[in-house]
C-alpha cells in the first residue's frame, strides 16, 4: 500500500490522536466496570448453562478435543474457589460431564473433578458417576476405580463397595503393589482407623494438587483424633474393670498407670471425659467421624 504525504496539519493529527486515545481509554475503563458487574462466581455458574455434551459434540464439528480443552480451561479456573457452596459445585460436575462427553479419553478431567467433588465438595454420588463413566471409557487407568474406592470408603462409609473397587484397581497395569493388601485389610477391619490412615496417606501421594493434599491431611488428623478417642475409651473401660467406677478426669488414667500419657490432640483441641457415661470427646472436632458411628 502506498501512503500519500501528510495532508493534515499538526492540529489535525493531534486531534485524531487524542480522539483515538480517548476512545481507547474509555473502552478499557468500561471493560473493567463491565467485568466487575459479572463477578467470577457468576461466570463460573455460566458453565452450568452449557448444553448437553451429546449435542455439543455435533455443534463443534471436528474440534471436539479442542472444545473440551477450552471448556476445561474455563472450569479449572473456578475449581479451588473455597467460597463455593456444595450446591455450587453441581456446575463443576456438569462442566466435567460435558467435557468428558466431548473427549471421553480426557483422563485428567475424571481424576481432578472426581477428587474435587469427593474430597472438597461433599458430593460423592456425582464424583462416583463421573469416575465410573471414566472407567467405562478408560478401563486401563487404575486411578479411577481407586478414587471411586475413596468415595465409597470415606464419604459413603461403605467399605464393602470400596474394597470391590480397590480390587478392580489392583488388577490394572501399573497399580501399586500395596493395593491388594490394603483392600483386604479394609474389608476385614472396616472402620479401623489404622487402615484408614494408611489409605489416606497412599491416596495423598496420588494427588498433585497441594490444596487437595491439605484437605486430606485434615482428614488424617480427624482419623487420628478417632484413634486417640478409642485408645482413651479403652483406658476408661480398663479403669472401670479394675476399680468398679468411672474415672473423674482423664488424668486419673495416667495417675493410676493405666495409660502412659494423654495423647496430644492433633486438631489443636483437648480430650474431655464425660464423667456420666465414660465417653471421651475432643474439643477440636465437633462430632466423631461418621464412619465410626455404627
Amino acid at each position: 500500500m502506498s501512503l500519500r504525504p501528510l495532508t493534515w496539519n499538526l492540529t489535525g493529527w493531534l486531534l485524531a490522536g487524542s480522539l483515538l486515545l480517548a476512545l481507547g481509554g474509555a473502552a478499557i475503563g468500561l471493560l473493567t466496570v463491565v467485568e466487575r458487574q459479572r463477578p467470577a462466581k457468576v461466570r463460573a455458574a455460566e458453565l452450568s448453562y452449557l448444553p448437553n455434551g451429546e449435542y455439543l459434540k455435533v455443534a463443534v464439528l471436528g474440534y471436539r478435543q479442542l472444545a473440551a480443552d477450552v471448556i476445561w480451561l474455563q472450569a479449572v479456573q473456578h475449581f479451588g474457589n473455597r467460597e463455593e457452596t456444595t450446591e455450587g459445585y453441581l456446575w463443576a460436575y456438569h462442566a466435567a460431564d460435558v467435557v468428558t462427553d466431548l473427549d471421553p479419553k480426557f483422563v485428567a478431567v475424571y481424576q481432578a473433578a472426581g477428587a474435587i467433588l469427593g474430597v472438597w465438595a461433599g458430593r460423592p454420588r456425582e464424583s462416583i458417576a463421573l469416575l465410573t463413566k471414566g472407567m467405562r471409557h478408560n478401563p486401563e487407568v487404575w486411578q479411577l476405580p481407586f478414587f471411586v474406592g475413596y468415595d465409597y470408603f470415606y464419604e459413603l462409609h461403605d467399605p464393602v463397595m470400596a474394597a470391590q473397587y480397590f480390587r478392580i484397581a489392583s488388577e490394572l497395569p501399573g497399580s501399586p503393589a500395596y493395593l491388594p493388601k490394603l483392600a483386604a485389610r479394609m474389608t476385614v477391619e472396616a472402620g479401623d482407623p489404622d487402615a484408614a490412615l494408611e489409605f489416606l496417606q497412599r491416596l495423598s501421594q496420588q494427588l498433585q494438587d497441594e490444596r487437595l493434599r491439605e484437605s486430606l491431611a485434615q482428614r488424617m488428623k480427624e482419623v487420628m483424633v478417632e484413634k486417640d478417642i478409642r485408645y482413651l475409651e479403652e483406658g476408661v473401660r480398663r479403669f472401670k474393670a479394675r476399680y468398679g467406677k468411672l474415672p473423674v478426669r482423664l488424668e486419673d488414667l495416667v495417675i493410676r498407670g493405666i495409660i502412659s500419657q494423654i495423647p496430644e490432640e492433633p486438631l489443636g483441641g483437648v480430650y474431655k471425659l464425660n464423667a456420666a457415661d465414660g465417653s471421651v470427646t475432643s474439643t477440636g472436632s465437633r462430632e466423631r467421624l461418621r464412619a465410626y458411628r455404627r
Binding site: S2, R4, L30, L31, V34
Partner: protein
C-alpha cells in the same frame, strides 16, 4: 451527513443485489430442519435445542456476513477502481468510511430483524418459552456484529481481503477467550507472560461480555445496567475502530 446516508443506502442496495439476504433461507432451513432431524428426543430437549440453535444461528450467520462482506467494503471499491469516481466527488474520506460501515450495519439490522420473528415463530411452534432474556441476548449479539464489522472494515483499509479476514477471525476468537486467557496467565510464574496477557486482554475487544446466549436460553436475564454498560462498551470500541479506519484511510494514496 447527506453524503454519508447516500453511501450507506447505496452499500445496503449493493448488499441486496449481492443476494446476501439469501442466508435467511439457510437460517430458516436450519431452524426448521434440525429439530425434525432430532425427532427422537424428548419434548424438553427439543425446546432447548431450538432455542440454542436459533441464537447460535443468528450469531453465526451475522458474524459470517460481517466478516466476509465487511472486508470487501473498501477493498472491492479499490479493486474495481470505483473509488476514483467516488473520491472525485465532494465526499470526504471519513464520510465514505462511515457510510460504508453504516450501510453494512443496516444490512445486518434488516437481517436480524427478519430472523427475529422467524425465530420466535419457531419457538412458538415448538411451545418453547419466549422470554425477555432472549431479546437481551439478541441485542448483545447485534452489538457484537457491529463490532466485528468495524474490525473487518478497519483491517480492510490497509491490508488485502484475505489478510483482513484472517485478522478479523483471529480477533473474534481471541475476543471470546481473552478473559479466560488472562485468568490463566495470572497464575503464571513469569512476569512477562502476565504482562503480555494483560496487554492482549485490554487491547483486544472482549466479546465474551456480549455473549449471553447460554443463560438467555435458560430464561435467565441480565441486569439492565449490565446490558447497557456492555452495549456502550461495544459501541465505544466500534467508534475507536471506525476512527482508526478513518485515520488510516486518510493517508492512503489513490
Amino acid at each position: 451527513m447527506r453524503q454519508v446516508v447516500v453511501i450507506a443506502l447505496n452499500t445496503f442496495r449493493e448488499n441486496l443485489r449481492d443476494k446476501i439476504l439469501y442466508n435467511l433461507l439457510f437460517f430458516a432451513l436450519l431452524l426448521i430442519g434440525v429439530p425434525v432431524l432430532l425427532a427422537d428426543l424428548t419434548i424438553m430437549e427439543h425446546r432447548k435445542i431450538v432455542t440454542d440453535m436459533g441464537l447460535a444461528a443468528i450469531n453465526l450467520v451475522g458474524v459470517i456476513i460481517a466478516v466476509f462482506v465487511g472486508i470487501g467494503l473498501v477493498s472491492k471499491e479499490i479493486e474495481r477502481r470505483t473509488i476514483y469516481t467516488i473520491m472525485a466527488r465532494p465526499i470526504r474520506r471519513t464520510q465514505f468510511i462511515l457510510g460504508k460501515y453504516l450501510g453494512l450495519a443496516l444490512t445486518l439490522l434488516v437481517n436480524v430483524s427478519i430472523m427475529l420473528p422467524v425465530y420466535f415463530g419457531t419457538l412458538w411452534v415448538y411451545r418453547a418459552p419466549v422470554h425477555g432474556a432472549l431479546l437481551q441476548a439478541i441485542e448483545l449479539i447485534f452489538i457484537e456484529l457491529l463490532l466485528v464489522t468495524a474490525l473487518a472494515l478497519f483491517f480492510s483499509t490497509f491490508s488485502t481481503a484475505t489478510l483482513s479476514a484472517t485478522f478479523t477471525l483471529a480477533l473474534y476468537v481471541i475476543g471470546h477467550l481473552s478473559t479466560d486467557l488472562k485468568g490463566i496467565a495470572e497464575k503464571s510464574e513469569s512476569e512477562t507472560v502476565r504482562m503480555a496477557m494483560k496487554a492482549v486482554y485490554y487491547l483486544c475487544p472482549n466479546l465474551e461480555v456480549l455473549n449471553m446466549k447460554g443463560q438467555a436460553a435458560m430464561g435467565v436475564s441480565v441486569a439492565w445496567s449490565y446490558q447497557a454498560l456492555a452495549s456502550v462498551y461495544g459501541l465505544l470500541y466500534v467508534a475507536l475502530l471506525i476512527s482508526a479506519a478513518c485515520v488510516v484511510f486518510q493517508r492512503r494514496d489513490f
